[in-house]
């Protein structure tokens, strides 16, 4: 523990609280284990109360820390490092999780809250294993508290005189996304602990029936939702704030949240198989353990410095070692328990057919696991190569996309195909009947696109440079297949219910969704995935253009929506059919920063004024790196994304980078649908029963209508909130752009404030491809390629590429290949293999191929073993005596009538 003597009462009380929490957690965990083992109810109840008391302690510690933030208690180091007096209250509160120490305490708080709710809700059902559950949760808490108490105490104080003013939160984090993105990801991570704790409780106590599964289903859904929410928010944040025109770059910290998402999604599917067929018990337990392990591994990646990322907290070897020890202990205990109980987890029966819903779910699981392990392996590859060969290679988004694209398309196909299959087996006739319309719709879509939208035929490399397929067309075809499949499910389901109940179509549809919430909520989630894939497909046609405008248009009559016809041609510039008119450059300032904003009027292809875009650059007085504030004109078809990359306040000169991103908003819309689908799955039975009671009074009917309107209003409001980007504010100016010597520019590293983004653009396709394949090694941008990085270093490297290409013949394919080899060879000789976006060694390239081959072999051989055709798995009906037959049939029919 930090030996500094706290001089703040808040620090003193906070430290004592954390220490007391440590003690209570240890006592309660011990009581839980001993009580459950000895079947001593007193000890088990004591452990449960200890868990609730622990929650109180973490709440107190968190409350004190936030109190220190809002009262500017800079005697506490963490407060001084992450806040200052100029920050608004909301950012002071979010500074709680803004850095490592506070984020660990936040994790402990959220887990304490969730676990208290989970234990309270499930204690009666799981009395005989709740002690183990509580102990598991508290042992995990003890790990994080060990980090807090002995290493990362957020209440540590200054030994010498504390500062008068704090350093403030990183300006990139002073954004409203910071309020919701980290908490949502933390909630997702923490929610994975609850299923893990129940799984360990089941294994430790020997309660191996399916009861633990139904208790953790809600938490698994919560984990899935908040991980999805956190990932989408992170993407949206990157899109609005980082100014590189995209939303996902396979950054290691992003991947850390994505990996457990894959395994939790897999668990949600095979949990259904276990409930329906009693199969895959060991698989589900393993998935839950793996998901929790990946949340810890992801935390390890981001907090230990093993991966290089703009998000990472920094390098900390001591912390890395503690995490490694914890992960090893976690795996040993979990796998040990699983192996110990293996004989009792053997299943009766198996898969009867490849063409069955359970096999489709299993296939989906394998693909999801393949995605998880691929992303994990490639994320850790730079660290592995550095440890083994002393060379840290760089792997860019292009490599990830080449492998994740085909895997994603397989998942998309399964999202449409699995709902069409029956449990156990689907006969050939049924298969034809189920697949006819969705397949026809998909084929029709592909044909129409091929004829009327030739851009969809664009070839994209997957797996290897040599393999190029019309991925956009395949993508849209599969999306159409999913739409057709899900729509067919809703239509046929409503028709079946209508026949059963005799009600109208709309009522049947609502009743269907409410009664079969998990199935139809899941279908909505599948549909949302297809919608998001429409957004992903748009990346195939996005464009980036750099422009420099010497001076803005002088202010004239007509205000902001100046008719285009009145604008002189020399003040217009066009990109992808849009016309831009640079209006003015404005400087403003406040206590925090000086902001320079360029106002650009955007016009549609037919000259209609669309919006006044305000792209800015902010220079903070505290000397941190300047930030880019983009402005975006959003549309369902495409976004126009404007960045101010450089300017000269005296002359009014401005450098712009314009991205046109087709279909990108479908990604956000898809997430809103995913949220709605998950909400449907989470509706409790009691709520359905409440809604099912028909109102007989006018007031009751009016209340029903009001509730529906309120729900629709909330959903629309959420959609509007998610879809609405934060408008950038005006600001003041920065350094003037001037010519620099090559060495001086390179020496400045990643300094993107001097307007170098537009310099030395590619003048040929070969140059453009090379600039996409070479990484900027300025040391500040973290693996952006030369084309995208806006710094002077990247500009000089682009100049070098153009210089190397100057003597080559680029008119023929052979000449282009020779030129490419020469340029790549020159860069590799100078910088080594890390200058390439994709890993250079054959060994590295080989691994994904081997994995794919291994996966296909796994599917064939293991799947064949799992599938048991014939009557071996079918239990023969037990003979019922003639006297009993009618009586029990009638009783069973009575029970079935009451079951919905």
């Amino acid at each position: 523990m930090d030996s500094a003597i706290p001089s703040s009462p808040v620090a003193v009380v906070g430290t004592i609280t954390v220490l007391t929490a440590y003690l209570i957690a240890a006592l309660a965990a011990g009581a839980g284990i001993v009580g459950n083992h000895r079947k001593d109810a007193r000890m088990v109840r004591a452990s449960v109360h200890g868990l609730y008391a622990f929650f109180g302690l973490t709440l107190l510690a968190s409350g004190l820390l936030v109190y220190a933030f809002v009262t500017h208690d800079y005697t506490i180091r963490y407060v001084a490092l992450t806040s200052d007096t100029t920050m608004t209250t909301s950012y002071k509160i979010t500074a709680f999780w803004g850095a490592l120490d506070g984020s660990l305490l936040f994790w402990v708080l959220v887990l304490a809250a969730f676990s208290s709710i989970a234990v309270a809700a499930n204690m009666r059902r799981h009395k005989d294993m709740i002690g183990y559950v509580v102990a598991t949760i508290l042992l995990v808490q003890l790990f994080f508290l060990t980090l807090l108490v002995f290493d990362k105490n957020p209440f540590g104080t200054y030994v010498t005189k504390p500062p008068v003013e704090g350093e403030g939160l990183n300006p990139l984090l002073q954004n409203y996304w910071m309020v919701i993105h980290p908490p949502s990801l933390y909630i997702g991570f923490v929610a994975a602990t609850i299923p893990f704790a129940f799984a360990i409780g089941a294994l430790a106590s020997g309660r191996l029936d399916d009861m633990w599964l139904s208790s953790v289903r809600v938490w698994a859904l919560i984990c899935f939702f908040f991980l999805s929410f956190g990932l989408i928010l992170g993407g949206r944040w990157a899109y609005e704030e980082l100014g590189w025109g995209g939303y996902w770059a396979w950054d290691p910290v992003e991947n850390a949240g994505f990996i457990p998402w894959f395994t939790m999604t897999a668990f949600l599917h095979t949990a259904v198989v276990q409930e329906q067929r009693g199969l895959l018990k060991v698989w589900n337990l393993a998935l839950v353990i793996l998901t929790f392990f990946f949340t810890i591994f992801g935390t390890f990646m981001t907090r230990s410095g093993v991966v290089a990322s703009v998000h990472a907290f920094g390098e900390d070897n001591a912390l890395a070692l503690q995490f490694i020890v914890f992960m090893v202990v976690l795996l040993v205990i979990s796998i040990g328990l699983l192996l110990h109980r293996l004989p009792r987890l053997r299943e009766e029966g198996g898969f009867e057919s490849f063409v069955s819903r359970e096999f489709a779910f299993l296939l989906n699981n394998w693909v999801l696991l393949a995605c998880a392990f691929f992303v994990l392996f490639v994320t850790m590859m730079p660290t592995i190569t550095e440890a083994m060969w002393g060379e840290r290679i760089t792997i860019g988004p292009a490599f990830y996309n080449r492998w994740m694209t085909p895997l994603g398309l397989v998942l998309l196909f399964l999202a449409g195909a699995a709902p069409l299959l029956a449990w156990r087996r689907t006969t050939r006739e049924r298969l034809y009947a189920q697949f006819l319309w969705p397949t026809g719709f998909a084929v029709a879509t592909v044909v129409l696109l091929a004829i009327f939208v030739p851009a969809t035929r664009q070839l994209t490399p997957i797996l290897d440079d040599a393999l190029r397929l019309p991925i956009p067309m395949l993508n849209f075809g599969l999306c159409a297949f999913v739409f057709g499949s899900i729509t067919q499910e809703f239509v046929r389901g409503a028709q079946a219910r209508k026949k059963q109940t005799g009600s109208d179509t709309f009522t049947s549809l609502i009743g269907l969704v409410l009664i079969k919430r998990r199935r139809y909520g899941g279908y909505l989630v599948h549909l949302s995935v297809a919608v998001m894939f429409i957004g992903f497909a748009g990346r195939a046609w996005d464009s980036m253009t750099d422009r420099t405008i010497e001076k803005p248009l002088a202010v004239v009559e007509g205000g902001e929506k100046l008719p285009l016809a009145q604008v002189p041609k020399e003040h217009q510039f066009k990109v992808r059919g849009y016309t831009f008119v640079y209006r003015r450059l404005v400087q403003t300032s406040d206590d925090n920063k000086v902001a320079t904003t360029a106002y650009v009027q955007l016009y549609d292809r037919d000259g209609t004024p669309l919006s006044l875009l305000a792209a800015a650059r902010w220079n903070f007085r505290k000397g941190t790196e300047p930030t880019t504030e983009v402005d975006i004109h959003e549309g369902l078809d495409e976004d126009v994304y404007l960045i101010l990359t450089g300017y000269d306040v005296d002359t009014g000169l401005a450098n712009f980078r314009i991205y046109v991103n087709p279909l990108i908003n479908w990604v956000w819309i898809g997430f809103v649908m995913l949220a709605f689908g998950t909400f449907i799955c989470l509706i409790p039975l009691r709520a359905v029963e409440l809604v099912s009671r028909r109102p007989t009074t006018p007031a009751g009917k009016a209340a029903d209508v009001g509730a529906v309107l309120l729900l629709v209003g909330v959903l629309l409001g959420a959609m509007a909130g998610v879809a609405n980007a934060q408008a950038p504010q005006g600001g003041p100016p920065s350094q003037q752009m001037s010519e620099h010597e090559d060495e001086v520019v390179r020496g400045r590293g990643h300094a993107d404030d001097a307007g170098w983004a537009h310099r030395f653009p590619p003048d040929s396709a070969t140059a453009a491809n090379l600039m996409n394949e070479l990484v900027c090694l300025c040391g500040g941008c973290k693996r952006e390629n030369l084309r995208d990085c806006k710094c002077g270093f990247a500009a000089m490297e682009r100049k070098k590429v153009l210089g190397l290409l100057a003597g080559h013949d680029l008119t023929s394919p052979a000449g282009q290949a020779t030129a490419r080899r020469a340029v790549i060879g020159a860069f590799v000789r100078e910088y080594g293999g890390e200058v390439l976006v994709a890993p250079p060694t054959k060994a590295t390239w080989l691994v994904p191929y081997l994995a794919v081959a291994g996966g296909l072999a796994l599917i064939f051989f293991v799947g064949r073993g799992l599938v048991r055709k014939g009557s071996a798995a079918d239990a023969k009906p037990a003979p019922v005596s003639a006297a009993d037959a009618d009586v029990y049939d009638e009783k069973l029919d009575d029970e079935l009538r009451d079951t919905d």
Partner: protein, 210 residues
């Protein structure tokens, strides 16, 4: 959160006092009417909501008073801290008491066979309904659905038989309703007969008078 615990403890107490062989309290003598015996009530025995109402608002009142009645962010944080302190105190005491008091009888009692059978019954019924639904939406042919349903029905019948043996309850819900209707009809029949008899009696007395 703790309401699940309180009923259990009070139930345990009730069960203990209801057990045979327990000596009942002596009846008060007429000369000296029994006075209610004052007993110390442990905080843990009080309903949580009552404790919350009794302890939390005064603390909030005091915090607002020292903040001069301004609901600032620091005041809100202090109020949250006060709630946390109350939680710590309440559950800390209960943790200590739980470790020393009560015998926990029934906590680890093996679950009744009846519960397991009911669970399996519900699972089988759902599976049969799923097969019916798959048949109606065209995923399964009638023959496949029938053969799959036969398997589940056979097992469900076994489970129903086992439940009856466990609980001794022979009537299904439908049979119970039919039995209730029969009783009601019988009652209504009796009432109707009594009314007719009364009417007849009045008529006869009126005719007799005339």
């Amino acid at each position: 959160m703790t309401s699940s615990e309180t009923p259990t403890e009070s139930t345990d107490a009730t069960e203990t006092s209801a057990e045979p062989g327990t000596t009942p309290a002596p009846a008060p003598s007429p000369a000296s009417p029994a006075l209610p015996r004052a007993r110390a009530v442990a905080p843990s025995a009080l309903p949580p909501w009552l404790l919350a109402v009794a302890v939390v608002p005064p603390g909030w009142f005091y915090i607002l008073r020292i903040q001069r009645w301004h609901l600032t962010s620091s005041a809100v944080m202090l109020m949250i801290c006060w709630v946390a302190i109350v939680l710590i105190g309440y559950f800390g005491i209960r943790m200590a008491l739980a470790a020393t008091a009560g015998d926990g009888e029934g906590w680890f009692a093996p679950r009744g066979e009846g519960d397991e059978l009911e669970r399996e019954k519900r699972s089988l019924l759902k599976a049969i309904k799923e097969i019916e639904f798959d048949r109606e939406t065209g995923k399964l042919s009638a023959a496949d659905a029938a053969s799959l349903t036969a398997v589940y029905r056979a097992r469900a019948i076994e489970v129903l038989r086992a439940i009856e043996a466990e609980t001794g309850q022979a009537l299904t819900v439908r049979e119970q309703i039919l039995a209730d209707v029969r009783v009601r009809q019988k009652l209504e029949g009796k009432v109707k007969k009594a009314k007719e008899k009364k009417k007849q009696g009045k008529k006869e007395s009126a005719e007799g008078g005339a």
